[in-house]
């Protein structure tokens, strides 16, 4: 029977018996070798365990590095988020100015309209009381003609200005979509940071990001299907193949036979 074929327990027992004999015989060199042999199986167990732990840690770090969005988030999306929020500030400022300009243009029109109506009412009252001379009446008739022409022009202008105010409010939709995208980014960032904390606390839980199976193509198609929101300048959006405005949309559609 060779060493390999003997059960480990029997081998150890045989070594222990031999150790007693060599110690009694005073053979220190053989005794030392036997003690090392006796301890070896326990050493191996410890090394195996250590090796397994090292491998686990390495794999966990690798999967985190490979699949986590943290790198992408910090390198690309956070600077993008800054630009997106700047875009929101610019858009809201623009909308507020458009609205204020329309109001500042409307108010004098309304005031002048009201003033002219007041003057005409006074003359009208005098006319009804038969207090107007023929010359004054002629002048009054001329004023009325002018007023009617002006009123038609002014109400058209007011309608145009109110329509500008109406359209300016579309900033809420546009910026709302951009802000929602930044909120999503903050949520992603939080989830990734929680994963990182779990990992460094040694619990080595499965990282959700590692379970992501969609490849880039599927990701992009799914993103397109759900929609991205407005294109924001100076972000990753501008690297995409996007149209610059309605004219380009019309050109593209007409190239498709629309």
């Amino acid at each position: 029977m060779t060493d390999q074929e003997q059960p480990v327990g029997d081998q150890q027992l045989a070594r222990a018996r031999e150790l007693v004999q060599v110690l009694e015989a005073g053979d220190d060199v053989t005794a030392r070798a036997l003690i090392q042999d006796l301890a070896r199986p326990y050493d191996r167990e410890l090394f195996d365990e250590l090796g397994k732990l090292t491998r686990d840690l390495h794999e966990a770090l690798q999967s985190f590095r490979g699949d986590s969005r943290l790198v992408e988030l910090t390198q690309a999306e956070i600077p993008d988020a800054r630009e997106r929020l700047n875009y929101v500030v610019t858009m809201t400022e623009k909308a507020a100015h458009e609205t204020l300009t329309a109001i500042e243009t409307s108010l004098p029109i309304a005031e002048s309209f009201s003033q002219q109506a007041g003057e005409l009412t006074a003359k009208w009252t005098r006319f009804r009381n038969r207090q107007l001379s023929v010359d004054e009446f002629r002048e009054f008739a001329r004023d009325l003609d002018e007023f009617f022409a002006q009123a038609s022009h002014d109400t058209d202008e007011l309608r145009r200005l109110l329509s500008e105010v109406l359209m300016a409010q579309s900033y809420q939709d546009i910026t709302g979509q951009v802000i929602r995208r930044v909120i999503q980014l903050v949520t992603d960032l939080e989830e990734n940071l929680v994963s990182l904390i779990r990992l460094s606390s040694g619990r080595m839980e499965a990282i959700e990001a590692a379970e992501k199976t969609l490849d880039d193509n599927d990701d992009r198609r799914e993103g397109d299907r759900r929609g991205h929101g407005p294109t924001v300048p100076k972000t990753q959006d501008s690297g995409q193949d996007v149209v610059e405005g309605q004219d380009e949309v019309d050109d593209l559609l007409s190239s498709l036979g629309f």
Binding site: L166, S170, Q172, P230, L252
Partner: protein
């Protein structure tokens, strides 16, 4: 003319509703995403659909496809009014059977022009 306006932002729905009123369309209804719009379309006698793309639950492109796949709704004119500006997406919408595509932010004139064009084409087709 009974029109359904679908957008998750109530402000945009109001803007479109006001523009349509200016154009003489007073019978407008609203939904805030595709999944609420679809049953309304199936149960109501709508003539025209104006929809956003980027909405929670059911995005506009899915609503468009559902409309085109529905025997009763498949010929309904659909105008997409959206901030989605990728060429791939515009092509996708065209392939799915959209009748017009307006990119946000848009002007009142653009909306009017696209609506007029859609109805002109329908009338010329008989």
């Amino acid at each position: 003319m009974k029109i359904l306006i679908v957008d998750d932002f109530s402000t945009m729905r109001r803007i479109i509703k006001n523009l349509l009123r200016d154009l003489g369309f007073n019978n407008t209804h609203e939904a805030d995403d595709g999944s609420t719009a679809l049953p309304m379309l199936q149960n109501g006698d709508f003539d025209f659909l104006i929809t956003d793309w980027n909405m929670p639950n059911m995005p506009g492109i899915d609503l468009l496809r559902a409309v085109r796949a529905d025997e009763k709704l498949k010929t309904m004119p659909v105008l997409m009014v959206t901030a989605e500006a990728k060429r791939d997406q515009i092509v996708e919408a065209a392939e799915a059977g959209v009748n017009g595509y307006v990119v946000k932010p848009f002007t009142a004139e653009t909306l009017k022009e696209k609506i007029d064009k859609i109805f002109e084409r329908i009338e010329s087709q008989g």
